[in-house]
């Protein structure tokens, strides 16, 4: 009994992220539409879109190899595992030993690797366009993310997400300047990696503005469904990450009873909803940057992460 319940909770978390991801993406879309005085698509529309796509034939580019068929599965599986390893409502679950923050970031990097390769395999200009721009953004966003990891891990004494959440939940952390800098930097990196304003427009099809869309332009059917779901999972992952590291209040510890778990679950859904509201408001108020101003934006995140790490190395209390 001692083993079964945590294992079930872990499996529940793995399934929860997949169920919640389209809902979260749909909620953000609906909020943005309402803020722009449109009625917008219904909340559950993404589920219907995914079901429709799964039922359609998959059409693959004529010149492409087996990589284009493998890539959607690889991208989805890697993003799913990364999202499942981030503690959402409970810490200390059985597989949390594998939930290292650096490993989560690197799994997303692997998914991006396959995404870029598949874009190049299609042999069109759009694929190369999207892949080269994504490579440039990633070359700044990944180091920025690693600096944030350093900041958080030095404060918490560990790079394992479960241990970080427990530390931040306890009183030992307090209000620290480097964590504040890390939060700002993480928000910027999250915007860049999930392809939101001001870095990328998730709804565009103009080649001047496409980054993520350009890489998946020639996917259809179940492959496109996998990629869309992976995109939604990435958004859920980053919101869960911000909630787990910076707002871990209400998360249930290991061996918690059912009422605490229920409260933690409700708290998690509430944090996601709050994040969705903030994202929708932010996206509605800001315009998209042109491509070569984005490195300055993400570079600012790298600088903030570096500054946070520097403050922690030089002084133990900042």
């Amino acid at each position: 009994m001692d083993l079964i319940v945590p294992l079930l909770l872990q499996l529940f978390q793995i399934g929860l992220v997949i169920l919640v991801a389209p809902l979260l993406a749909g909620f953000v879309r609906l909020l943005k539409a309402r803020l722009q005085r449109r009625s917008g698509p219904p909340l559950l529309q993404i589920y219907r879109d995914l079901a429709k796509l799964i039922g359609k034939d998959a059409i693959v580019a004529g010149d492409a190899s087996w990589l284009v068929v493998l890539a959607p599965y690889a991208i989805f599986v890697l993003t799913w595992i990364a999202a499942a390893l981030v503690p959402s409502f409970a810490t200390g679950l059985p597989f949390s030993g594998a939930g290292d923050l650096i490993a989560v970031v690197a799994l997303l990097g692997t998914a991006r690797f396959f995404q870029m390769l598949a874009a190049l395999d299609v042999a069109t200009a759009f694929g190369g366009l999207g892949a080269s721009r994504e490579a440039m953004f990633a070359s700044l966003a990944e180091p920025a993310m690693l600096m944030i990891v350093f900041t958080v891990a030095v404060v918490a004494g560990s790079s394992q997400l479960s241990a970080i959440a427990d530390f931040m939940h306890s009183q030992a952390a307090g209000l620290r300047l480097s964590l504040g800098l890390g939060l700002v930097a993480l928000v910027i990196v999250a915007l860049a990696e999930t392809g939101r304003f001001p870095v990328d427009n998730p709804a565009t099809h103009l080649e001047l503005t496409m980054v993520h869309e350009a890489m998946v332009l020639d996917y259809s059917g179940r492959h496109l469904a996998l990629i869309e779901l992976a995109h939604a999972l990435k958004l859920t992952l980053y919101m869960s990450l911000i909630a787990c590291i910076f707002v871990p209040f209400g998360m249930a510890g290991p061996g918690a009873a059912l009422p605490a778990l229920a409260i933690a679950l409700v708290g998690y859904i509430g944090k996601l909803a709050a994040g969705a509201v903030l994202l929708a408001v932010f996206e509605t108020t800001i315009a998209k940057m042109r491509i070569f101003r984005v490195p300055n934006f993400i570079g600012a995140a790298l600088m903030l992460g570096l500054l946070g790490t520097l403050l922690l190395f030089v002084s133990a209390t900042l």
Binding site: L181, V184, G299, M303, L306, L307, L318
Partner: protein, 228 residues
């Protein structure tokens, strides 16, 4: 006020002081990052607001009521009056164009981080025997001063150099407030001298603009009159 004090632990009050000082450093970085003149002036308003809050918090934890007046002066003059006046000047000069930061924004930000590191190392080494937590506040204030100077050095436009000068003043006030306050008389005289300096600078800007049709200091260099 003491009821609130019992809620927050001593360590937390000082952490809040650090966070506010750090927010001022962050505002200085935001100022370095901006391209356009009107956003630079808006960030100056933000900078002075954060300074006001930081000095107010220092007043609260040091139980020094005269610092509240300093905070109020900062909020009143430097967060409201001066930015509005600068925006008016900018509109009348008609210079809403882009600022060219010397060396590019990324190099400037890297230099900024180097300056923050330098000020931290200087303060934490030379004042090693002093009170640990006040030392870090002064280190961050020194960083704000250095960043203000960096702003003045890397900008061409005279108005943005004035903004850099203002942020440098803010750093000085934070340092003075962090180091156990300063007498009210001195503060009033400092505020008035800032105001006078500002009026003089404004007048000069208009004279320069009248005479040379530009306030770009690179172009003004050409009129120096010495044999180059």
């Amino acid at each position: 006020m003491t009821g609130l004090g019992s809620l927050i632990s001593p360590a937390a009050t000082l952490s809040i002081a650090h966070v506010l000082a750090g927010a001022l450093v962050l505002a200085s970085f935001m100022m370095l990052y901006q391209d356009r003149l009107s956003s630079v002036i808006n960030v100056l308003a933000l900078h002075s607001t954060v300074l006001g809050v930081a000095v107010g918090w220092q007043a609260y934890i040091q139980h020094a009521p005269e610092l509240y007046i300093t905070a109020g002066l900062a909020l009143g003059f430097k967060a409201v009056v001066i930015p509005i006046a600068l925006q008016r000047i900018v509109i009348r000069l008609g210079i809403h164009h882009q600022i060219e930061a010397v060396g590019g924004i990324s190099v400037t930000m890297l230099a900024g981080i180097g300056l923050v590191a330098l000020s931290l190392v200087v303060m934490l080494r030379t004042a090693a025997h002093a009170d640990a937590l006040a030392r870090e506040d002064v280190a961050l204030a020194l960083a704000v001063i250095l960043l203000g100077m960096l702003m003045m050095v890397t900008r061409r436009n005279a108005v943005s150099q004035i903004v850099g000068f203002m942020s440098l003043e803010n750093g000085l006030i934070l340092a003075a407030a962090g180091a156990q306050g300063m007498p009210l008389v001195v503060e009033i005289s400092v505020a008035f001298s800032i105001l006078i300096a500002f009026i003089v600078i404004g007048v000069f800007l208009f004279r320069i603009r009248e005479r040379f049709d530009t306030v770009d200091s690179a172009a003004l260099d050409a009129f120096r009159g010495e044999a180059q």
